[in-house]
């Protein structure tokens, strides 16, 4: 009975606060989420063509049915230790808004995890870490069944730095 109650409550809160669905993936043991409506497709990792003179985290470009899209290694972007790509390694192809229109990009992650409903209420602002970790690209932290999911602001994450402006670019 109480379980039933919970479910209806959950559903209600979804409707009221406009819950969003998030696709989560694993990166170095942590679970991260991105807005599922931004996800175009998930594909296995294939060889990329490196682009000269770009930061290390830009793996290169691939051919996605005739369009050239850049691939970003998220481990590298977050400064995590590199691991060799395994069978679960996937590329999540995302639509990124901003920087003069929509763009398609891929991120390399360790594995895809799940899809969760997270309402805005459930999402908490990340604490301020000062200079230790920049929280600009984190939309919020959400607790989903005892686990913490880090919801990413992909527009911010993928547009920042070298992707659009020439900041940090080698000249």
């Amino acid at each position: 009975m109480s379980v039933m109650q919970n479910i209806t409550n959950d559903e209600k809160s979804e409707i009221n606060s406009g819950a969003n669905q998030y696709l989560t993936f694993i990166l170095a043991g942590e679970e991260y989420g991105v807005d599922i409506l931004r996800v175009q497709e998930i594909k296995g990792w294939n060889k990329v063509t490196p682009i000269p003179n770009t930061p290390e985290y830009i793996q290169g470009v691939i051919n996605l049915r005739g369009t050239i899209i850049p691939i970003i290694d998220l481990r590298c972007r977050f400064g995590l230790e590199n691991i060799s790509y395994g069978p679960t390694t996937v590329v999540i192809v995302l639509k990124v808004v901003g920087g003069g229109g929509n763009r398609i990009m891929g991120i390399v992650v360790d594995a895809v995890s799940d899809v969760y409903n997270v309402s805005l209420d459930e999402m908490k602002q990340p604490p301020d870490f000062g200079k230790v970790v920049s929280v600009d690209f984190i939309k919020g932290l959400a607790a989903v069944s005892e686990k913490m999911v880090i919801i990413l602001d992909i527009d911010h994450l993928l547009n920042a730095g070298v992707m659009v402006s020439d900041d940090g670019q080698i000249h």
Partner: protein, 692 residues
């Protein structure tokens, strides 16, 4: 049953714009005084079809305006009127006006109403001028009198008017857009229901309309039923509603021709506002012409080739059904046929996108005519190579830069007649536009025989602006190049033609964006030549595949001069760093691709690899690569769509195996190699890695 007319709108507008082009060039060719009947006829026909089309599609403003032009042209055609310079100029202005009207009809944007009214008045005045002075005055006063009153219309259709497809409802609709209208129907002729023929008209109407348009406007609505009805139009004499009339006078669109039937007509404040905010309105939502005309030959070619392709396909399919090793020769034959066919097909499809450059040149006769008149210069325009074909996208983008260059030549290049005479030149200046193919490029030359670039003035200006150092001495070429710097203009007086200092840098940037180049050469006192070099197409490129380490890159074939095996004896190292290669009598800097692109090559010894000698931006360099792989046509894909522009890379393409290969930007690569001496390179990369 109604037909959706809007599906034909696109065609109508395209044809109308074409017609305007015909009218314009015809008018420019018209010799004052002697009317060449053929030319006048051509102009008249163009105007007539625009009018007809506009009336059919309900663009009454366009139809109304064209009607007046047509009347004038008709008189010229019948030689009732002399072709005067005044009339030609007025007609040219009317063409502009009509073009704007058509653009606003197409985009639904507001019309510059006062201009249209003014233009139409001028045309009507010219028309009435033909009669003797007396009538002329009468006409004027009549126009005055008509202004601000209304009309009583008695409209008695004959019984069979409906059979010809005329619908009174439409006419009333049009009438009601002219002003307040009251209609009385006379149904006395109506027969009993049993005797009634639904295809006959039994009604007649009395209409009184409060408007200030002329009686011609009213009767024009009834043009189509001329001879199928009795029509009486009389002026309303009692001026009871002065207030309404007064307010009408203030309206910018008090003239029916301007009204876009109903939608916009009551939106007066908005229209007014827009008109004030930008006196020369740029059409905002200009829908790009999305269709091209293709000659039937090209289409026939294409169909033939597709037919062949189908045959080869079925041949290969049959071969595949029961295949064994004995048929391998047949397969090879089929595949080579397929290859040839695909290439031909591709070429034909590309040719469809090709248009003769006359599309871009067409606007210049008019521009030269107008500008030279304005500036008091005598200029003869000569055009050659108009049939040179180039890609439609390139053509669309090259239009504005070309206009700028031509304006520049007229404004700055060619001198005033008396200056020319003083310099011992004929008073008429010559402006020559020339286009031709050379290599994989299209060359467009804009040559004038004017004063040429004044080197002293340019150097002085550049020094004043701090663009070069005071004690810097430049070669002739470098001085000429200065005019392409941002913020550079030597015009003493800033005119509205040119000289605001924006321009040449933008021209160069636009041309560079297209993958082209612009050069200028000039002889003082003799003239200036601008040479624009453009790629044939933006979509496909002949490329040489080269490999460095594990990577494959594509070098545009057009920029390759030769490829050679490196003979160590010819390599010299300057200051222990910069490597040069002695190629015959030339020293060419060696660019090690693996260093510039920071990849691990198969070998670092020069003797183990190949040198691809390339030219970009007039500079030569030898690119050191591991190996040459083959030549291939590649389809250019943009890196910028989803990523960003990269130095040294002009784009990417997809190879046969589905992987991506980057296309080298040769001139960018040479620039890049200047910035990256090997030691700098290492420092810069460390910096990036720590940032990441």
């Amino acid at each position: 049953m109604s037909i959706d007319m809007s599906q034909f709108h696109q065609t109508f507008f395209e044809e109308s714009f074409e017609g305007l082009g015909v009218m314009e060039s015809g008018l420019l060719n018209l010799d004052v005084g002697t009317a060449d009947v053929d030319v006048v006829n051509a102009i008249f026909r163009a105007a007539h079809s625009i009018k007809g089309g506009a009336a059919t599609f309900g663009f009454s403003s366009v139809a109304g305006f064209t009607h007046v032009m047509e009347t004038l042209l008709d008189e010229m055609r019948d030689q009732r009127r002399k072709v005067t310079e005044e009339a030609v100029n007025l007609l040219l202005l009317s063409v502009d006006c009509l073009r704007d009207l058509l653009i606003s009809a197409r985009d639904g944007s507001p019309v510059d109403a006062p201009r249209v009214v003014d233009m139409q008045k001028k045309l009507e005045n010219l028309l009435s001028d033909k009669k003797e002075g007396g009538t002329c005055v009468d006409q004027h006063s009549k126009v005055e009198k008509e202004h601000g009153k209304g009309w009583d219309i008695e409209f008695i259709p004959y019984v069979n008017m409906l059979i010809t497809g005329n619908d009174p409802v439409r006419m009333f609709g049009e009438l009601s857009s002219l002003g307040d209208m009251s209609v009385k129907v006379d149904s006395s002729k109506m027969t009993g229901f049993n005797d009634m023929n639904p295809e006959e008209c039994y009604f007649s109407w009395k209409i009184s309309i409060k408007t200030d348009v002329s009686s011609e406007k009213i009767s024009e609505i009834f043009d189509w039923v001329d001879g199928e009805c009795d029509l009486k139009i009389t002026q309303i004499l009692n001026e009871s509603d002065k207030e309404l009339i007064a307010s009408n006078d203030d309206n910018p669109d008090h003239y029916d021709g301007i009204k876009n039937k109903d939608d916009h007509s009551h939106d007066l404040p908005k229209i007014e506002e827009k008109r004030l905010s930008s006196d020369r309105r740029v059409s905002s939502s200009s829908v790009e012409n999305s269709s091209i005309r293709v000659s039937i030959d090209k289409v026939d070619d294409l169909i033939n080739m597709v037919g062949e392709l189908v045959i080869i396909q079925s041949m290969l399919a049959q071969l595949g059904k029961d295949f064994d090793n004995s048929q391998i020769m047949k397969l090879r034959d089929g595949l080579s046929q397929l290859e040839r066919n695909t290439r031909e097909l591709q070429e034909s499809v590309m040719r469809i996108r090709m248009l003769p450059i006359s599309f871009a040149f067409n606007r210049f006769p008019r521009m030269v005519h107008d500008l030279s008149k304005k500036l008091g210069k005598e200029i003869e325009l000569k055009m050659s190579g108009e049939s040179t074909e180039m890609d439609k996208t390139v053509m669309e983008k090259i239009g504005d830069p070309l206009v700028h260059l031509v304006r520049n030549s007229i404004d700055h290049g060619i001198e005033l007649p008396h200056d020319r005479k003083a310099a011992g030149k004929p008073s008429t200046g010559l402006l020559h536009l020339n286009a031709y193919h050379k290599g994989g490029n299209i060359i467009i030359e804009i040559r004038d025989d004017g004063g040429g670039l004044n080197k002293e003035k340019i150097t002085k200006k550049a020094k004043d602006r701090g663009l070069i150092k005071d004690d810097e001495s430049l070669s002739e070429e470098q001085i000429n190049d200065l005019i392409f710097l941002p913020g550079f203009s030597t015009a003493e007086i800033v005119s509205d033609v040119s000289g605001r200092g924006v321009g040449m840098d933008v021209v160069r940037r636009n041309i560079n964006d297209l993958g082209g180049k612009i050069e200028v050469s000039s002889f003082e006192g003799k003239g200036t030549t601008f040479t624009v070099r453009l790629p044939l197409t933006l979509a496909i490129l002949d490329g040489q595949l080269v490999s460095v380490g594990d990577e494959t890159y594509i070098t545009p074939l057009v920029s390759i001069i030769e490829s050679l095996q490196i003979d160590e004896e010819n390599v010299n190292i300057i200051a222990g760093r910069a490597e040069v290669y002695k190629l015959r009598n030339e020293y060419i800097p060696i660019v090690r691709l693996h260093e510039v692109f920071n990849i691990i090559p198969k070998n670092k010894k020069l003797s183990g690899g190949l040198l691809v000698v390339v030219e970009g931006d007039g500079k030569r360099a030898g690119i050191f690569v591991d190996d040459l792989l083959g030549q291939q046509q590649v389809v250019i894909k943009s890196l910028e769509t989803n990523f960003k522009r990269m130095d040294g890379v002009s784009g990417a393409t997809i190879l046969g195996d589905g992987t991506v290969a980057l296309i080298m930007d040769v001139s960018g690569l040479i620039r890049l190699s200047h910035q990256y001496s090997p030691s700098n390179n290492r420092v810069a990369l460390d910096h990036v890695k720590s940032a990441a």
